[in-house]
């Protein structure tokens, strides 16, 4: 063979690209601001961290000034590191360290107010539990959109799951039957999306919006119909699963080993969906169909059939997430009780870059900030409650703009596929 088209080995640049410098400046400035905050307001204050469930009396009192000072300097150092230039590979490390320091410092600051105690176990356990609807909703979104179908109807699937879960649990008397019912209901409602998106090539965003409307109308209507009769909408409680001695480990125990079924299923599903997507034939085909359906088609993959069943299967996940609202919280169904969280799940999916592990991270950010906001509000923070409630949204905005940057959707996401002229 005479010649080859091999491009030269990559020359790795040793200088920091411009965006590193920009990010570095931001981190450095924020870090120094924190230092200034420490000197101005935090002298003499202390932040109390308590282990409320396993060690009722144990608590640490940390001088807020010192903690914020150290963390602020750490953040500034991360920024400086970026500014002087660091290898590409370590940019992620530096920015993660910077953000972590920033978040921790803000927490120390927030919990330095008189009367506030950072109850590590209940806050973390609560945060994990609160992330669950986002995990299920966003995973459902991932499965749909990885196969090229936009699912904006997660909110509707939540409602269907929430309603049906309670209904079936009431009729059968079994909470597990209720969970299955919720999944089936979620899946039935995505079936319409699946059909319209594959067979009838309807604009998928419109279908999603319609599904939300239909689910709201349907569940509200059924709620009214069943309200008159007894025994259709009584609350059922999912038992807390306690892992024996593991549950007694400080912090880790209450957070990880004494949670409701939803938490375990949620974490397992993240792993399962990840494995299925990246390690199995189904996943390979699913991703191909979402990126380049014509390519998959030309290799004999039936694009629309795969999309159809994936969307239907994704409904199972969203429906299960819907059951979180009722069965997971030991609540009866109530009209519109999902309160827009389905849309947040959509955002979590994008924050997680259509990847189950990213979804886990995004959902945890949301759950954690929501929990912190509620805790601070309950403790009587001087920040108005509305601003505390904005916290998860504001944090997401910052994370998305500052850390995630351009999230690239699967290339064929939302584009109906028409194989030849069949």
């Amino acid at each position: 063979m005479a010649v080859d088209t091999a491009p030269a080995p990559a020359l790795v640049d040793d200088r920091a690209p411009a965006r590193h410098a920009r990010a570095g400046t931001v981190y450095a400035v924020l870090g120094l601001l924190l230092v200034a905050v420490a000197f101005t307001w935090l002298g003499g204050k202390s932040t109390v961290i308590a282990f409320d469930k396993t060690l009722t009396d144990a608590s640490w009192s940390v001088p807020t000034f010192g903690a914020v000072l150290v963390l602020g300097l750490l953040c500034a150092a991360a920024g400086a590191w970026m500014l002087v230039g660091l290898p590409q590979r370590q940019f992620k490390l530096a920015s993660t360290a910077g953000v972590a320091a920033l978040v921790l410092a803000l927490l120390f600051w927030a919990y330095s107010q008189e009367g506030t105690v950072f109850r590590a176990e209940s806050i973390l356990a609560g945060a994990l539990f609160l992330s669950m609807p986002y995990i299920f909703g966003a995973l459902s979104g991932v499965v749909c959109e990885r196969s090229g179908v936009i699912n904006i109807g997660i909110e509707g699937q939540f409602l269907m799951g929430a309603f049906t879960g309670v209904l079936v649990a009431n009729i059968t008397g079994s909470i597990y039957a209720g969970l299955v019912g919720a999944m089936v209901a979620g899946s039935l409602s995505t079936m319409l999306l699946a059909l319209l998106a594959t067979k009838y090539q309807v604009n998928q965003v419109v279908v999603g919006v319609i599904l939300n409307l239909l689910a709201l109308g349907f569940t509200s209507f059924m709620y009214d119909q069943l309200k008159k009769a007894e025994g259709f909408n009584d609350a059922f409680a999912v038992p807390v699963i306690s892992w024996g001695p593991l549950a007694d480990i400080p912090v880790i125990g209450p957070v990880l080993f004494q949670q409701k079924l939803f938490v375990y299923v949620g974490i397992v599903m993240v792993a399962v969906v990840w494995f299925l997507l990246y390690r199995t034939r189904w996943g390979l085909r699913t991703r191909a169909v979402g990126e380049h359906p014509a390519a998959a088609d030309s290799m004999g993959v039936n694009v629309n059939r795969l999309r159809y069943w994936n969307v239907v299967a994704a409904g199972l996940l969203a429906g299960f997430g819907g059951a979180w609202f009722t069965l997971g919280n030991s609540l009866a169904f109530n009209k519109n009780m999902t309160a827009g969280l389905g849309f947040v799940a959509l955002a979590v999916m994008i924050v997680g870059r259509w990847n189950p592990l990213g979804v886990l991270a995004g959902a945890l950010i949301f759950g954690f900030t929501t929990q912190i906001a509620r805790d601070l509000s309950a403790a009587g923070s001087s920040v108005p409650g509305e601003f505390l409630q904005m916290l998860p949204y504001a944090v997401t905005l910052v994370v998305v703009a500052g850390l995630i940057g351009k999230a690239k959707a699967p290339a064929a996401d939302g584009v109906p596929y028409n194989p030849g002229d069949k």
Binding site: V205, F221, V344, A409, A412
Partner: protein, 428 residues
């Protein structure tokens, strides 16, 4: 955003042309038109199908009618009569609430009611359509630039606040005050709309995430702001704002017929905004750029268009449109003071309105009117027609209109020359 350059299939192969040598009669042409899935007939059939499904829902949901079905085989006429009356009365009620009240018409003909009463249903329809025109345009305009503005809700809320603040805090003559208040609404909405645009241009942050976050932030901000002494009503303890000054209120259009006819100048502004948006998109160089970027940002960039600034300006303009919708509320029907509920879900409905109108200003106005009529009808027909049934009816109508292929398949219509008109399919 993705385009489908790789899929080479067209939407639907046109049916083989029916060749007939003799000149077809009018009835044949007309009959052919009726059985063809053209956009007019698809809309007509969508409504019919939706109302058919609605009828079934009504029958199922009505306890009495349902009970007559329990002895259907013994005395079917009971069930049929009950169903017929139920469906007829329900739809009459919707029609009367949205378009023309037949009772009022009778009284009017008998000289017992004034003309204004006759106009009330229409006025209500137009009143509810007004904010939807604005939010529909806000979503539609962004859509043409390839942006999914799911944030019209928050932009509308900001617009409401902006218009409100100028509306009560300045003391000016009407010719100055009203325009200023309206502009303030547009500016406030535009400011919020700019955020996702700027973030996308600068950092690549996905506009859907930032818009969803900003919707929530705006709604909470409104709750907080309404509680502050600056915005909070001085006379009422409820969570309601100060009313806007008389000089900043949008004049009503039909109140000379009857003072309770609420439709106001905002409707005209809405039409004007639609015309302007149409002009902007199809005539102006800016619109050329928006569409080019929306279809293919790479080619647009290669042709020298600035992508980031197109995102920013388009989102700002879209936000401003939604903000004007907020101003229409704050200075119009809610001029007595806004609450946390005033915005309803006008912003979210704007998405459906825009997509149903195929992101064309004309189509957006038409679908906003349809939604306004459904809302006015539903409001007036309750509780005979449960509100939830109206929601379901709305969803079903939109579903069929958005899915011509489905209507075609159900009714076995023929494909028209030039194929089915489908909503453009767009990814993120």
């Amino acid at each position: 955003m993705s385009d489908s350059t790789t899929t080479e299939a067209p939407a639907e192969p046109p049916a083989p042309a029916e060749e007939s040598e003799s000149k077809p009669s009018f009835m044949r042409v007309f009959g052919g038109y009726l059985t063809e899935a053209n956009s007019v007939m698809v809309t007509v059939y969508s409504l019919l199908l939706a109302f058919l499904i609605g009828a079934i829902l009504l029958i199922v949901s009505d306890e009495y009618t349902r009970s007559t079905f329990s002895y259907f085989f013994a005395r079917p006429q009971d069930a049929l009569a009950a169903s017929w009356y139920l469906v007829r009365d329900s739809y009459t009620a919707l029609f009367e609430g949205a378009i023309l009240n037949l009772n009022t018409l009778e009284s009017y003909q008998a000289g017992q009611a004034d003309f204004g009463n006759l106009l009330r249903p229409l006025s209500e329809t137009l009143t509810y359509a007004t904010p939807l025109i604005f939010t529909g345009l806000a979503v539609g305009l962004a859509f043409r630039a390839g942006l999914f503005n799911i944030g019209a809700q928050g932009q509308l809320i900001f617009g409401m606040m902006g218009a409100l603040i100028v509306g009560f805090s300045l003391d000016l003559p009407i010719w100055l005050h009203l325009p200023l208040a309206i502009i303030a609404g547009g500016l406030a909405g535009g400011a919020l709309g700019a955020v996702p645009g700027v973030l996308k241009a600068a950092t690549g942050a996905h506009e859907v995430i930032s818009s969803i976050m900003l919707n929530n932030i705006a709604a909470l901000f409104l709750v907080w702001a309404l509680g502050t002494s600056f915005l909070h009503s001085e006379t009422k303890s409820d969570l309601v704002s100060k009313p806007v000054d008389e000089s900043a209120m949008l004049p009503t259009l039909l109140s000379s017929f009857n003072p309770s006819l609420r439709v106001n100048l905002a409707l005209i502004i809405g039409f004007a905004a639609a015309v302007f948006t149409w002009w902007l998109l199809s005539k102006s160089t800016f619109g050329f750029r928006i569409r080019a970027v929306g279809f293919n940002e790479h080619a647009a960039a290669t042709a020298g268009m600035r992508i980031g600034s197109t995102y920013t300006t388009t989102m700002t303009a879209a936000g401003a449109l939604a903000g004007l919708g907020g101003a229409a509320l704050a200075l119009g029907v809610s001029s007595g003071g806004i609450t946390t509920n005033t915005a309803l879900d006008y912003g979210f409905s704007g998405i459906t309105v825009a997509l149903l109108g195929r992101a064309n200003p004309g189509g957006i106005v038409a679908s906003a009117l349809l939604f306004g009529a459904l809302k006015a009808g539903a409001l007036s027909a309750q509780p005979d027609v449960p509100v939830d049934i109206s929601t379901l009816l709305q969803a079903t109508i939109v579903l069929f209109i958005a899915a011509p292929a489905l209507v075609k398949a159900i009714l076995h219509l023929r494909t028209p020359r030039g194929g089915l008109v489908t909503l453009e399919a767009k990814g993120w």
